[in-house]
């Protein structure tokens, strides 16, 4: 992109020590539906440049959208850098000359969103749902990076489909993403819709749930929600800020040994795919929790320097973050695991996860879209009015089993792009409304 080159040359002439420019152009189509019919089609065409620069330990960032804004915004950037205090925790950006694999992604395949949504709605209706709501995306991104040390670009994107089906007040939801490796025709939207419809139909007879400690079989959406909301605790930024329940636990057991959590941004089956991070470090598969042991925190070059370790390819220049988390699968099926739950709950989804104590990871989250009572391996009813009120450390310690099935989950702000199995957790604290 010529604009990126112009920004880079101008910042160089200003005498900046460190420069990072991320340009993203996007072409995105979205179709929204509710009550079984189309609400709206949205089409976005955007270009945005995020520009980070530092002189010594003084740093600032501007975002601009067009060539016309370059001169004014870069002058503003210089003005800010000349006036802001030093950030003692900033140790620069990745200075190594890098080479990148997995950057040769072809174009994202085209797909007719209206056909996709209609298939999903039909699947849900066939399963017995009264009505369905949801949306689908077709996303095409072009990313271009230029830093003081590296240049690279790649295409990304994919398709997302969310469907929530209703039978009276009962609901079931599926929320799946397909990364740039997907091909037209490979998405079985009808089956996804049928699954949401089945869940809604299964939960139609609802009673008030009970308080207490329960064995909970968590769906990929529920465990995906908990992992997404707590993933920032694995960032060194949170640890360094003393706002992480994983602080001080490096090398120690933080979960049961049946639990391994990785970040794998090179998995092209998901929309979280990316070959390099925000400062040009090649991304890679990182196991942050391996067989229960906390192995490392997410690091940028700068946080890695401060921590005395290496970047993990998770920059954010200021705050490292996860790209595409995956809980490594187990060996047994969801059905087999369910059949051994003597007395517990199967919960398909939660939302509104909020923390009263970051340091100890204490939170609650509200179940929705399938909350079932399980006795002797059988679903015997559906419950409502309950909430998971527990802590991240306790949930991880009590993971008893992980399924072999994995779903590519992503939903709203609640679940980041991730690959999640079903997980059985013992002794989960359930509270209820009175």
């Amino acid at each position: 992109m010529e604009t990126i080159d112009r920004i880079y040359e101008k910042l160089s002439r200003m005498g900046m020590d460190e420069i990072v420019i991320n340009g993203v152009s996007s072409d995105t189509e979205q179709l929204r539906f509710s009550n079984n019919s189309k609400d709206l089609l949205n089409q976005w065409y955007e270009i945005e440049y995020s520009v980070f620069a530092a002189r010594g330990k003084r740093m600032a960032e501007v975002t601009l959208k067009s060539e016309n804004e370059v001169d004014a915004k870069l002058e503003e950037l210089r003005h800010m850098i000349e006036r802001v205090p030093e950030n003692p925790s900033f140790f620069g950006i990745n200075p190594k000359k890098e080479t990148y694999g997995h950057v040769g992604v072809g174009e994202v395949a085209d797909i007719d969103l209206q056909d996709l949504c209609e298939s999903a709605i039909n699947g849900a209706t066939d399963a017995g749902a009264e009505r369905s709501a949801g949306f689908a995306y077709l996303v095409k991104f072009r990313h271009t990076l230029r830093t003081s040390y590296n240049e690279a670009n790649y295409n990304s994107g994919g398709t997302e489909l969310v469907i929530r089906s209703f039978l009276r007040s009962s609901t079931g939801q599926e929320s799946i993403h397909f990364g740039p490796a997907f091909r037209t025709g490979s998405i079985d939207a009808e089956s996804i819709g049928r699954s949401a419809g089945d869940m809604a139909v299964s939960g139609k007879d609802v009673s008030q749930g009970d308080e207490g400690k329960f064995t909970v079989l968590m769906s990929p959406y529920l465990i995906g929600n908990i992992i997404s909301s707590s993933s920032e605790f694995l960032s060194y930024y949170s640890v360094d800020s003393a706002m992480s329940c994983f602080a001080g636990k490096l090398g120690f057991s933080v979960s049961s040994d049946s639990f391994t959590l990785v970040d794998d941004p090179l998995d092209m089956s998901g929309v979280g795919f990316r070959p390099f991070d925000d400062e040009g470090t090649p991304t890679r598969r990182n196991a942050f929790i391996e067989k229960g042991v906390l192995k490392k925190y997410m690091q940028s070059y700068s946080t890695g320097k401060k921590a005395g370790t290496e970047s993990t390819g998770n920059a954010g220049v200021i705050a490292p973050s996860a790209w595409q988390m995956r809980i490594e699968p187990g060996t047994r099926s969801f059905r087999d695991i369910l059949s051994e739950v003597k007395d517990g709950l199967f919960i398909n989804n939660t939302w509104y996860t909020r923390y009263q104590d970051y340091r100890n990871g204490v939170f609650s989250t509200v179940p929705r879209d399938g909350v079932f009572r399980v006795k002797n391996g059988e679903i015997v009813g559906s419950v409502s009015g309950i909430r998971i009120s527990d802590s991240v450390p306790a949930i991880l310690k009590n993971v008893a089993e992980v399924s072999k099935e994995i779903k590519n989950t992503k939903w709203w702000e609640e679940i980041q792009p991730s690959m999640m199995p079903y997980v059985r957790v013992n002794g989960v604290n359930i509270s209820r409304s009175f």
Partner: protein
């Protein structure tokens, strides 16, 4: 000049669609952060573009940041056939209005130097450090919004808006025990708002409360009378009145995301609480964080009673949901940026003050809890099953405050909460928030608040 193409856009789309509108919006924002005594950096962003809506057999939006007419026309021409496919297409068309409005600032954000912004955040970080907060994050932000709206019916609205915000998170940590606090404040104004906040007094009080919480006892579960402060009445009004009265939720349009409403399928007016409960949403409240004179669909803003004397009264409507309900839109169409669709959104939502003095609420309590502020909260997707955990909280015995209690929890439902209210005080106070909704998620600036209120005989733990 950015935004000058808007008349040309609507002139063109008017000829090829049943209804069309276009919105140009530029948002210039600045922010800085201080973390544990260290300056985190300063950020400035500039974003602008056009949201172009056309309605034929169905509705569609194109969002583009281009300023080239040929490019924009090409995008519109690509959109047109998509509006010919079947879908929902009801939208309220109103009489033409031409207006412009502007937010006055005494201490203009344009005039605030980098050093002044930094000093505000640094000062509060130092104060928190001196007070013994072991973890500290302070964020200061402002934005300047220029907006133009045009529609095919002849409406033309221009606006210039400025907003200022302050956000903090801090915590105290002793012997493995941790207590945290977050605070969010904002105003549609200039920086004079921060001067009026008395943030220093608030931070002193909050740190003291957290430190005393560390050694405070837990509450014995049971039924109590409960007095809630304005921060609680505000979050309750927002979550369990504002959200469920957004009409797009009632008709299921947000079903897969923010959810539906416990009011879906009900006959109106529907009883939600005691006669003491009235809740208002008012975009026209001066300086409020959600202040506007016209919404993002060119509709004049006005005050709305959402609940009145214990019953539902009016819903929050944008053009689309008003057409479905068969009434005039009431100025609730808001979007967070040029590239987001306007949805039925809150502005400033609050429990209407009553006629009691605060002291009178306490006088009638034999055994109770005063929950002044909250920490964790959440609510289900029909806005019924909800939870609020007290931050600064006290036991009340025979009308007197009797020491702190740690994290008392109210886990109840909307009808029980509002039905338990028997008295509402005269006071009124607000905090700010970013209200999330839509897909992609868009946070709009809102205020929420209310007076002290008393609930009788409600289960706490």
């Amino acid at each position: 000049m950015p935004g000058e193409l808007i008349d040309r856009i609507v002139s063109y789309t008017s000829g090829i669609s049943r209804f069309s509108d276009a919105r140009f919006m530029s948002v210039g924002s600045k922010g800085i952060a201080y973390r544990n005594g260290e300056f985190e950096g300063m950020e400035s962003s500039e974003t602008s573009g056009y949201a172009i809506r056309m309605v034929n057999e169905s509705m569609a939006f194109a969002y583009t940041d281009s300023e080239d007419w040929a490019d924009i026309k090409a995008k519109i021409d690509l959109l047109l056939p998509k509006t010919r496919r079947q879908g929902k297409n009801r939208i309220s068309e109103t009489d033409p209005v031409r207006a412009s409005w502007k937010v006055d600032q005494k201490k203009k954000i344009e005039d605030m130097s980098v050093e002044e912004r930094i000093e505000i955040a640094r000062g509060h970080d130092r104060l928190l450090d001196d007070l013994g907060a072991t973890v500290r994050m302070n964020f200061i932000g402002d934005k300047k919004i220029l907006q133009s709206y045009r529609d095919s019916g002849g409406t033309a609205i221009d606006a210039e808006i400025s907003r200022v915000s302050y956000y903090y998170v801090f915590g105290v940590f002793e012997n493995g025990q941790f207590e945290q606090s977050t605070g969010q404040f904002g105003s549609t104004s200039g920086y004079e708002y921060l001067d009026s906040l008395k943030l220093e007094d608030r931070l002193r009080s909050e740190v003291k409360a957290l430190r005393e919480n560390l050694s405070a006892p837990s509450l014995k579960p049971g039924k109590y009378d409960l007095i809630v402060g304005p921060e609680i009445s505000g979050i309750v009004a927002h979550e369990s009145c504002g959200h469920p009265t957004e009409y797009d939720r009632i008709i299921g349009r947000e079903g897969a995301l923010a959810g539906e409403s416990f009011l879906t399928g009900k006959e109106f007016p529907y009883r939600v609480g005691s006669d003491a409960v009235s809740i208002i949403d008012d975009p026209t409240m001066p300086m409020s964080y959600g202040f506007y004179e016209y919404d993002d669909e060119g509709i004049r803003a006005r005050k709305r009673y959402l609940y009145r004397k214990g019953y539902t009264d009016e819903f929050i409507l944008n053009r689309e949901s008003a057409a479905i309900l068969g009434v005039e839109p009431n100025g609730g169409g808001r979007s967070s940026s040029w590239n987001m669709e306007p949805l039925a959104r809150m502005s400033t939502t609050y429990i209407e003050p009553g006629d009691h003095e605060i002291e009178e609420l306490f006088e009638g309590v034999k055994s109770g809890v005063y929950m002044k502020s909250f920490t964790e909260w959440n609510i289900d997707d029909i806005r019924f099953n909800e939870k609020y955990v007290g931050k600064e909280s006290y036991l009340v015995e025979n009308g007197q405050i009797k020491g702190r209690v740690r994290r008392p929890t109210l886990e109840t439902n909307t009808i029980k909460f509002y039905s338990s209210i028997d008295a509402v005080a005269r006071d009124l106070e607000f905090t700010a928030g970013s209200c999330g909704k839509g897909e992609p998620m868009q946070g709009v600036d809102v205020w929420m608040g209310g007076p002290h209120a008393r609930l009788r005989d409600i289960y706490l733990k």
